[in-house]
Structures are given as C-alpha cells and as structure tokens.
Point group: C3
Chain length 271, copies 3
Amino acid sequence: MTLAQKAGDVLARVRAQCPLIHNITNYVTVNDVANAVLALGASPIMADDIAEAADITAMSAALVMNMGTLHERTVASMLDAGKRANAMGLPVVLDPVGAGVSKLRNGALERLLREVRLTVLRGNLSEISFAAGLQAAAKGVDVSEADASKDPEAVAVAAAQRIHCVVAITGAVDVVTDGERVARIHNGHRMLSRVTGTGCMTSALVGACVGAVKDPFLAAVAGVASMGIAGELAFERAGAQGTGSFHMAILDALSHMDGPLMAQRGKIDEA
Amino acid sequence: MTLAQKAGDVLARVRAQCPLIHNITNYVTVNDVANAVLALGASPIMADDIAEAADITAMSAALVMNMGTLHERTVASMLDAGKRANAMGLPVVLDPVGAGVSKLRNGALERLLREVRLTVLRGNLSEISFAAGLQAAAKGVDVSEADASKDPEAVAVAAAQRIHCVVAITGAVDVVTDGERVARIHNGHRMLSRVTGTGCMTSALVGACVGAVKDPFLAAVAGVASMGIAGELAFERAGAQGTGSFHMAILDALSHMDGPLMAQRGKIDEA
Amino acid sequence: MTLAQKAGDVLARVRAQCPLIHNITNYVTVNDVANAVLALGASPIMADDIAEAADITAMSAALVMNMGTLHERTVASMLDAGKRANAMGLPVVLDPVGAGVSKLRNGALERLLREVRLTVLRGNLSEISFAAGLQAAAKGVDVSEADASKDPEAVAVAAAQRIHCVVAITGAVDVVTDGERVARIHNGHRMLSRVTGTGCMTSALVGACVGAVKDPFLAAVAGVASMGIAGELAFERAGAQGTGSFHMAILDALSHMDGPLMAQRGKIDEA
C-alpha cells in the first residue's frame, strides 16, 4: 500500500466515525475551521471558556489548539483542556500561529510545550523553527524571508525529536515526520496562501484524522494532503475567478474528499 | 389562508419594516447570522459588552441570544439585555446551543430561563429536551442518538407549556408550537447539517420575523420555514458542487425569500 | 494624470510591497477583512490582546482599528497600539462603527480621538457626523434617516478640519477629503449594503494602501474606490444570484484589482 492509499483509509475512518473535534481557536478563521471539519465528515465543537473547555475536551475525540488572536484568557483554557486531554489519552494538535512574533505568543507556546504533551504540531516553517528553539524571524503570520532558506525537512525532524511529537510543516512541499519517518507531500497550490485560514483548516483536518485513527503520523499526512488536494481542485475549478470563489471551492473539494480521491491524487513519498 | 400564506405575509412585513435585530451570539457563525438577517430584509446589530448590550437592545425591535462559544462575560450581557427587553416589551429569542453539554451552558440556560421571559426558544431536539427538564444526552452541538428516538412534537409542546413561550425544534421535520397550536414544517434538506450555523441563522431569522409582527407563533413558523426552503433551493442549485457552494447558495436563496416564494414552496401543516 | 490613475499607482505599490497591516477589529466581519487585505496584495495580521497589540503594530506598516463589537478590553488595546503607531510614525486608520449608538462606543471614540492621532477616519455619514461633533441620530450601524439629509461633503470637510486627518465618508457617492482637497468617487453599487462588512473591508483596504504610500489622501481614495469598483464588478457577475454569491464575487473582484483596472473603471473627480 502506498502512503496515499493509507491516507485514504484514514479519511474513510473519519467519515465512518464522525469524531467530535474540540477546537480552541481564533475568531478570524473559526467558521472555515468548523466547515472544513464538517466537510471531511467529522463534527466540530468550539468552546474556549475555562469554565467548560476541559469538559468539552473530555467528551471529544481530539483537541485542536490554535494560537491565532491569542488571549491570556484562552491560553489558560488551552492549558486546562490540554492537560485533560493528556490525562485521558486523547490526541492533541497544536497550531502555533504567529510563534515568534510577540512575547504573548512565545510565552504561551513555551507553557503549552512544557505542560501539555502534543500529538501533532503543525505550522509553517517560521513557526516550527521557533518552536524547535531554532532562530526565527517571523513576519506576521507568514513565513519570513530569513526562514525561507532553511530546510523544512531538517527543521521538522529536529522539532519532532525535541518535542517528541509528530511535526507537520506546510509549504511548497509539505513535510510530516515523527522524528524518524519523513513524508513529503507534493500536493497543494500557491493560491492557498491568498486565502486566510488555510493553515488553520489544515490543523483542524489533522485533528479530525487523529481523532479517528491511532497513528498520528498517518493522520497528519492525511489531514495535510487533504488540504493540498483541495487546493489543487479548487484552483482548477475556480482559481481564475478569484480568491472568493477559490475559498468556497476549497470547502467544496473537502466535502468530496475521500479514500479513492486521496489514493488517486495524493503525491506522497517517504524519505 | 394557509399557514404558508400567513408565513409569507410575515416575510413581507419584515422587508417593509426592516427591523433592527440585536444579536448576542457566538463568534463561529456570527458573519452568516448577520448576512442571513440582511438577506431576509432586516438589519442586524451585534454587541455583547455589558457596557452597551442593554442599550443596544433598547433601540432594537428584537433580541436574539445564542449560547454558542458561551463566556461568563456574555452570559451577564444576555441577562442584562434580556431583562431590558422584557421591561420594554420587546421580543426575545433564545438559541440554547449545546444545552446539556457543560455546567457553564446548563447554568447559563437555567439563569436565562429563570430571569428572562422568552418569546421563542429554538434549538435541536437535544437542546430543547434539556431545556424542558427532560433527560438529554447531548453529543457536542448536534442531536445525540438517545435523543433522536424522542418525539419532537411531544418535547416541543412540553417545553412550550413549561417555559411559557413558543418553541421551535428543527430537524427532519420542524415543529413549532405555543403549547396549544402545533405546526409541522416539511421543508429543508439534510445537507443543511453539513454547514455550521444553519441553526444559528434560523434563530436569527425567527428574530427578524418576531421583530416585525406581533404573533410569535407565526413569526417562528416563517423564520424556520425560510431556512427550510432556502436549504432546498440551495441544494437544487449547488448541492452537487459541495458544501462551500451550498453554504453560499443558502444566503442567495434567503436574499430572494419573500411572500410569494413562501406561499408557493412552504409545506406547513397544523396538527 | 487623473485621480483614478494615481489611485491605480497606489494599488500597484500595495502589490509590490505587500505591507503587513495590523487590524484590531470586530468578530463579525474579521474573516472578510483579512481576505480583502490579502486580495488587494497586502498581508493582514489580527491581534487584540493588550499583551501584544502594540508590539504587533510595531512590526506592521499600518494599524486599522474598527469599533464593531467593541469591548472595554479592546478599547485599551486600541489606545495602546494607536499610541505606539503614533510614536513610530506609522499610519492609523479608524473605522468608528456604530459611533453615536451607545455610551461605550461614544466614550471609546472620544478617547481614541483625544489620545491617538489618526491618519484616516472612514465611516458612514452618521458615524462621521457624530465624530465631528455634529448632531447624529444613528440607527444601529447603518445611516439614520435624519443623517441622510446632511451633505456628506460638508460633514467630511468639517470632520477633517476638526480632527486633522483624512476623512472618508462612504455612501451613494463616496467623499474623501483632507480638509482642503475633496475627491468624489462615483463607483459602487447599493447591493453593497446588503452584505455585512463591506464598510469594514473598505477601511482595511484603506489601511493596506496607507501602509504602502506616504499620501493618505490618495491612499484613502484608492482604498475606497477599490471597494466601489469591486461592488460594480460583483453585481455584474453575481448580483442576480443573490447576496451570498455577490459577497464572494466582491472578494473575487478585489483579488483582480490593480492599476489598469482602477484607471479604467475609477470614476473619481476632485471638487
């Protein structure tokens, strides 16, 4: 079986199980995140008040934490929910949006890495570089030019070994690694960077997958490749119309994503 | 006149009056809620800080409170705004999103039911069951399997009689009742459950209708049936493309919703 | 060179420089705001916690503050970020959403006007009238009927002279003035008022432009005219389908907006 076929099996499991995915996320892209999770066949729930966050995690199949529009208030909720997930053996995905750009985000990331065991860490090259303790010079929430020269594969492996989790770096070629196995995903389209939230959606898709299967490496490959293929399909159908139609077509494509489509379109190789 | 024709008259009144509808709602679906209210011909305003919530209610034609992504902070604002609406005789719609899933939501719902007189309560079967004090086993914000076996009509009537308001339970067949009259709405499409926020939008549409006419039973029928018909039209036009296009087509359909369309497509009978 | 040609040059500069634009904004329209900024070729970052707001401003090319869904918490962040922008000589755009409708918003606006030097103030006639200290009777976040009889040009000039910044009033005809020069923009379509967030997006587009060029008058003209032209193009392509498709087509049009399109479609004259 190829990795693409295995990733396709993960997607079939998501649709069969419809796992409940708890998202503590930002208010910019939250609607797309919920709709992306629904499109893949899982069930999203959003809750970030500390009075309920851990309880919502406890009834879910996975927790996805996203640092966009971070608040002191939501950091506390993430810590609480993350610890509950750890105590119950539930998978935890972290998207360290904007890691490196402010003391608030850096401090939050440090605490999250210290106090919560992650299952998957997904971000761009700048964010993962920062998380791995490597030097990072982030420009807003996009990849900085200094970071662009780094080797994503080396950064991802270093981060995975240091943080002891699966790491996914999305970019021109996506890299997923558990520190030993390394998958490269050659799907995607650069127009994805012209719509906000494609990274956040990818992390939530990984959450949907990791909520359905036990293998976090394969789950991360399936989630990341789903967005890549959706980007290609969306570009083919709607790219010429503009970013609004492309945005909508991403969700259309995710709602048709399944095992056969992944097996057919997934361009995934293992290093 | 059929109920569908009467519901059509409600929609005509909404477009003629353009009532201002105050929404205290969640950050997941708030954009769709605002656009749904606009599409039906009313005017939305969103404000949840306790420093202004009641004042915004006072200038509005109706208040819609939605418990998604609930915070302690917004619970206080809802109580304040709800009491002001009661004092001024303004209609109040409550969407108890996730009732039953956490102490935060359950405690908030209890306080809202005790301290604010509702005009319309709209939710799914799990949420309304919980609100009516019946046993509920909610799964996230969707209907749980245990609840699915209950009779929505009996639950709605019990809730309406106990809470003394109009109750709308949306599902395969929607039920609207004031505790005596019972309307069943056979519009809708199951694809509506694959887009987040269709429930929230429905509650806000009920708010737009109840802000324009004095009869809350008829207003709830009109608001609920509008979403049902919009779902059918959206599926016919865009269902095959996927959930992104379907989502957009719901708003397209709502923006064309009016008396004649309701009279023609509404499948509403009274028990 | 016509004003439309000059505005076209501004757009070319935005695409060439991709300025980072910090938005402290509401949770209703924030996704559209981010996507509009991306569509025009700039890079959005959203951050409103006081622990990072000023630091995010410091790394940005411009700050855009929007008073929708205002909170006490975000007012403090706006003041902090605004002062940092002033200290660093960075441009500041304010969208006083709902100015005049509550003590919270009016108090916040007063403090912002007193403590932060604005580069551009953009709003509707009610909001700018209120900001200028003229009498205003706002209806929600739309223009009230009493205000509709005022002369936007006179209000804009008075506001610009009093507040010492560029003022843009959007409406049937948009007016942009620095208190001396007055530009009138005859682009746009009334369907723009049937989608929430077109005003917020316009302010953010002005932010993108003012982050790329030194002339705030011209930047405001370019930002405002971009939305007007996008509204026309969106109506031509998708208006008949409804407000959902129209909404998406606005973003499509913005993603194609550039110098030649502005020079060709811009209907801008100077008083």
